[in-house]
Every structure is written in C-alpha cells, then in structure tokens.
C-alpha cells in the first residue's frame, strides 16, 4: 500500500482556509449538477444564472433600492428597540422601586411570541414602514433589556464597596463602576439585538408585505417562479447577517479589551 501524496492530506489546507472548503465544494457540486445537463427541473438554476440576475438587478438599481429599504428599517428598528432596552435595563437594574413596578408586567409580556403582536401592529400602524420598524424594534428590545438588566444587577459588590470607601457619588457610581462593569453583558445584549433585528426585518417583510425590501425580493421571486432571485435573496440575507455579526464582534472585542482572555 502506498501513502497518498502530501498535498491530498487534510492538513495540507491552512486552518484559516478550512472554513472555505465546504462552501466551495457546495458551489462546485451545484455547478457540476448543472453542467452535467441531467437536471432539467425548472426549480433548478445554475450558479451563473444567479450571478446574471444579480448583475441585472444591480444594473436597473432595483437591488440597491431593496437592500437600502431593508437596511434602513433594520437599523431604525434596532436603534429604537436597543435604546429602549438599554435604558429600561439600567433603570430597573438600579432602582428597586422601578423593578418592583415594571418587572412583573415586562416578564408577562416577554412570554408573548413577537409574532403574536403582528395583528395588533398591523391594525395600529398598517403595513408600511412604521409597522415594520415597530416589529423590528420589539424584536431588538428583549435581548438588549434582559442582558442589560442582568449586567447591572451583577456588578461585583466588592467593587461597590471600594466606591463607597472612596466616597463616590451617585453619578460617579453609575459612570465609573456600574456601566463599565456591566459593559460586557450590555454588549452581548446589543449584539443579540442586532442579529434579532435582522431576522425580524425579513420576518416583517414577509408578514407585512407592502413595500420594497430583500424580503420582497424573496416573496416576489417565489410568486414569479424566479428561483435565481430567491437564491440571490437567501445568499444576500446570509451575507448581511454575517457582516453584522463580524462588525459587532469586532466592536465588542475593542470595547472590552481589558478583559482577561
């Protein structure tokens, strides 16, 4: 028995590139299936067709319009929801009274699936952008709120004692102890809010269908039997989600660089 050549061994691929093996393989099989000429279903389109329709949508400007509309409502909903979650989380984390008043109600609302709010949202705000932003905001609110609250609650009591000994005032305590100590937890909340908001953006475009957006590219593609547009939509949604995750991760690493790794 002869040993296989060195370059065929899995270890020949550098670790940083190993994550690319599967996507490249999938695209290759996809293309091979098309090139073999044996798959004739109208539900099957070639990779080249997807690229062509992407170029076509770029040329006509439709893609930027849809992408821009989706990202705008995503960021608006995220900003509103995350800001509300952050504020309420800090408030309830600091004040026993506010916690006693608000927390039972918030806990009850938390149990309601955000999809259950869709009928109410569409009755109140219609099917337009305002309704979509409200839905996205609701999705972004919960992770931001829950993580901020637990972060503020979890500030080490030992450090609070140091602040007492050094005579910190109320504002100094918040600014110098509570917020920095809670920052890692707050950041995981913001990070999750960013991801949830993007998921909810697609959800809102499906459920409240009026208007333009990446979600509409998908639903229209489905209705018009345009598999190339559907696949393009899926790929774009994935790439944007990936981009948000990378962005938030980088920012988090920078802001909490004092943490022991």
């Amino acid at each position: 028995m002869t040993t296989p050549p060195r370059y065929l061994h899995p270890a020949a691929i550098p670790p940083a590139l190993r994550g690319w093996v599967l996507p490249v393989l999938i695209v290759f099989l996809w293309w091979a299936g098309y090139a073999s000429g044996r798959i004739t279903s109208p539900l099957f389109v070639s990779p080249g067709k997807v690229v062509d329709s992407a170029l076509e949508l770029i040329r006509t400007g439709t893609l930027w319009q849809q992408l821009g509309a989706s990202l705008a409502r995503d960021l608006a909903g995220f900003a509103a929801g995350a800001l509300a979650g952050l504020t309420l989380g800090v408030l309830l984390g600091l004040s026993r009274l506010a916690e006693n008043i608000f927390n039972p109600t918030l806990n009850a609302f938390k149990q309601v699936s955000i999809f259950a709010w869709v009928p109410l949202i569409s009755l109140w705000f219609g099917l337009g952008d305002l309704a979509k932003v409200a839905f996205i905001g609701l999705a972004a609110f919960w992770p931001a709120f829950i993580n901020t609250l637990s972060g503020v609650r979890g500030v080490p009591k030992e450090l609070v004692e140091v602040a007492r000994v050094l005579g910190f005032g109320r504002l100094q305590l918040v600014r110098r102890v509570i917020l920095p100590a809670a920052l890692p937890a707050i950041f995981s909340g913001i990070y999750l809010a960013l991801i949830y908001a993007w998921l909810a953006t697609l959800g809102s475009e499906y459920l409240l269908t009026a208007g333009v957006g990446i979600g509409n590219l998908l639903t229209d593609g489905q209705e018009q039997f345009r598999m190339d547009n559907v696949l393009l939509g899926v790929i774009l949604v994935g790439l944007i989600g990936f981009g948000f995750t990378a962005l938030a991760g980088g920012l988090e690493r920078y802001l909490t660089r004092w943490q022991r790794r």
Binding site: V155, L166, R170, Q172, R260
Partner: protein
Amino acid sequence: MAHAATLDIRNLGKLYPVSGEPKPVLENISLSIKPGEFVSIVGASGCGKSTLLRLIIGLEQDYQGEIVLDGQRIIGTSLNRGIVFQEHRLFPWLTVEQNVGLGLLNSDQSPAQRKKAIQEHIDLVGLKGFETAYPYQLSGGMGQRVAIARALVNRPEVLLLDEPFGALDALTRNYLQQELQRIWEQEGITMILVTHDVEEAVYLGDRIVVMQPRPGRIKRIVDVPLARPRDRGSYEFAAIKEDVLQEFGDGKLAADLSVRRPDPVSAGEWHFAW
C-alpha cells in the same frame, strides 16, 4: 507627611441577625490607638476581626459604643480612612495609574497635583514602569501594591489592612511585609492590620491585639518592644511569637461556629434605594 490620627474605640459591640435573632459578633471592645502607631489584630476566623475593620472604615454601621477618630464619632466612610482588602479589588477596566487615581476622584486637588500624587504613590509601592498595565497583567503581589497605592494616594490619617497578604505566596508575603513597614515609616500614618498570620503580626506591629470568638472579644494585648527592621530569626522575636501562639493553644480561639456576616449591600441598595 500626612497627619496621623488617634483612634479611640470604647465598649464597642455589634450584633448580626442570625435566623431572625440578633447574635453578638463583637462585645465590649475597647482599644486606644496612638497617632502613627502600627497595631496588628490576630485571631482565628470568625472572631470578628474583619467586622471590626469594617466598622472602623464605615462600611458597617449600627454599632453600640463609640468609635472616635480625632474626637469625631465615625459615621459612614470618609476619605481620611483608607483600606486594603484581602483581594486587590482593582477595577479591571482601568490601568494601574487610573486605578490609583480613583482615590483622588473626590479630592479638591488640581489635575497637576493629582498627576504628581499618583506618580509618587506608584513609585512608593515600587511599580514605576507599570503605570499603563491592566490588572490582568499584574501578579497577585503587584495587584496588592496598587491597592495600597490607591488607599494611600489621598493621604488618609489611618490605613486599615484586612489580611492584605493572605492570598500571596510566602516569599512575596515576606517581601511585601518589609515594603509595608518601609511605607509606614515613610508616611508616618496610623496602620491597623488584621491577619491570622502571627509572624506577620509580630513583624509589623507595635502592639498585637489577640481576639477570641463567640462573641468577638479582646483576649490580650501584647507589646512588641523590638527595634525595626525586625529579625525574624532572633530569640526575642521567636519568644513573642510563641507567647502570642500560646493564646491560641487552649482551643477556645478556634471558631467552629462563627456568625456569618451578611452579604454586602449592592449598588442599588446603597445609592438607589428610593
């Protein structure tokens, strides 16, 4: 050089609630500490020695009797009293110089004066060159040095030390004891050290207060009339150490049933309990 304070403790008592019933943790403590004196407090765990320090610093209140610093009854914390805890308790998101600077946050000095005071105290504890290091980059001994600098940067009249070297290895501990003695002589302030290490108590203390538990009381006060720096290997040193250790010998000092201190208050309870 900072002004050193006279500390008078008279008939001090403190109760903790244990399953709804108040139990004494400290009873009838009377102690007078001269300006610039170094007092060591030893005792087994549970004898209330840390509670005594927490009362003097002002983190615990509701006591019977009197704790008087320079004629004023102690109420709450104050910048004229500093403390070093067993853990360094540095803020992990701040550098060494920023951590030391926290001690000056509420002082009325100008920025230039603060900068100078911070550098002086970093130099005092021998950490020149580590100004911009983060706590996770420091060893345990270095962390305690920063904590000492943070407590001293305000020039307090009295420095309290709650088993500051208890978590360090023996070599580092010996070295930091020498360093603490040097700092005490240089600054000329009153220091009170709580420890369960009898050798540490003898090495550093002008007097050693031996405490016994249930409830925490002063059993005996031992003078240490030895010249500094003290020679741990000398006969006189060994004799005093032996004398103090004898107090632990009868078994009554070992606390098997100590009263647990309630958890410290959180940020919400301290400043936001409205």
